[in-house]
């Protein structure tokens, strides 16, 4: 399981920084999906 270590906002995006099981960092940048937002 990844462990979330930081949550913040960036230019309308939600940024979630997590630590992988092997210690590497992974960062998710996401946004609430819009209709027809398929690409």
């Amino acid at each position: 399981m990844e462990k979330i270590i930081e949550r913040s906002k960036l230019d309308g995006l939600t940024k979630e920084k997590a630590e992988k099981e092997d210690g590497r960092t992974i960062i998710y940048y996401s946004k609430k999906p819009r209709r027809n937002d398929n690409a």
Binding site: L10, G12, I26, I27, Y29, S30, A39
Partner: protein, 327 residues
């Protein structure tokens, strides 16, 4: 044996990284970059970045496996290599990303640049994308990469020094001078708006090489304003869609390369942020190889004139919708 080894003749660092030998190459059964396969357990993201499983540069490197001396210098390969996925979807190409998603991607590039630029062991942050098997990609999923170097790479150092010496001699920016020359000539411009200009440079060395310059002088992606971010997204999308339609082939191979001021703590205000795009596809069925002259002398021979390449790219109509919000 991960380490940096110094070439005392050419005065440049080479990276020795045998871990790269273990990378999967175009696996047929499943894509390790797709959600819930290997690297990314979630699919609810727009963009995701993570440290490369097979890094050339490592945040916490092992000791070099060989001892150096004052002539054959050796350093640990300390740095950061990140993978940046542009979408959870495997089959979408970067050219197909909506403008809003490209602007989000630019925000992520800026965020990663800013964070890594603040690390005291990083001197240069390089953002790039390899696309297409001819370029050497090992995974097809839409993605780019970032290398945060503990030194300024040779080509970047040379252009930084050129910018600085030109500024000392003339008080002006050498990149602004190139941009003015290209705008005055006009025939190599392939796209422009109020903030950015895309052109095949007078001195293009690779097939369908395009440079994308901001009109305003600034040094790094961190200084982009909102309007410039929107223009940069349009410029990238226009260039990639022209590439996509240039020849009737499935996946036009290209490299996107960011050129920015170093982050080594010195004053590099004479540098001018820009992007460069290169291909190896010199015709529908012809690839440009880096062979004896290019590899042995670093002199490039182009069988296409820059004017011909610009004319070809100008002739590609980017369809309505491919550069607007509904694309």
């Amino acid at each position: 044996m991960p380490e940096l080894r110094w070439n005392p003749i050419l005065k440049r660092w080479n990276i020795i990284s045998d871990k790269r030998q273990d990378r999967p190459v175009l696996p047929e059964d499943s894509c390790p970059l797709c959600p819930e396969v290997l690297e990314v357990p979630r699919d609810d993201y727009y963009v995701v970045t993570f440290e490369n499983r097979f890094p050339s540069l490592e945040r916490n490197p092992e000791e070099p496996n060989i001892a150096g001396d004052s002539f054959y210098r050796v350093r640990e390969n300390r740095g950061v290599c990140e993978v940046i996925l542009y979408s959870p979807e495997h089959d979408v190409s970067p050219a197909e990303l909506r403008l809003e998603r490209l602007e989000d991607l630019i925000a992520v590039w800026r965020d990663r640049f800013t964070e890594l630029a603040g690390e005291d062991f990083i001197d240069y942050v390089y953002i790039f994308e390899n696309r297409g098997r001819e370029i050497g990609v090992t995974l097809d999923h839409p993605h780019g990469q970032l290398y945060a170097f503990p030194f300024i790479p040779p080509l970047a150092r040379r252009s930084v020094e050129s910018a600085e010496s030109h500024y000392q001699e003339t008080g002006a920016c050498i990149f602004c001078r190139v941009l003015t020359k290209e705008l005055n000539f006009g025939k190599r411009i392939i796209w422009e708006d109020e903030n950015f200009v895309a052109f095949v440079p007078f001195y293009a060395r690779l097939p369908y090489e395009v440079h994308l310059y901001p009109r305003r002088h600034f040094t790094t992606i961190a200084e982009l304003n909102r309007e410039e971010t929107s223009s940069l997204a349009k410029g990238i999308k226009t260039i990639l869609n022209k590439y996509k339609s240039l020849f009737p082939i499935d996946d036009f191979p290209y490299i996107t390369s960011f050129h920015q001021a170093p982050v080594d703590g010195e004053d590099h205000s004479s540098y001018h942020f820009h992007l460069e795009f290169y291909s190896l596809q010199r015709a529908e069925d012809k690839i440009k190889y880096r062979a004896g002259v290019e590899t042995g002398t670093s002199t490039f021979i182009s069988s296409l004139s820059p004017e011909k390449m610009a004319d070809d790219l100008q002739g590609v109509e980017v369809k309505a919708g491919e550069t607007d919000e509904d694309g």
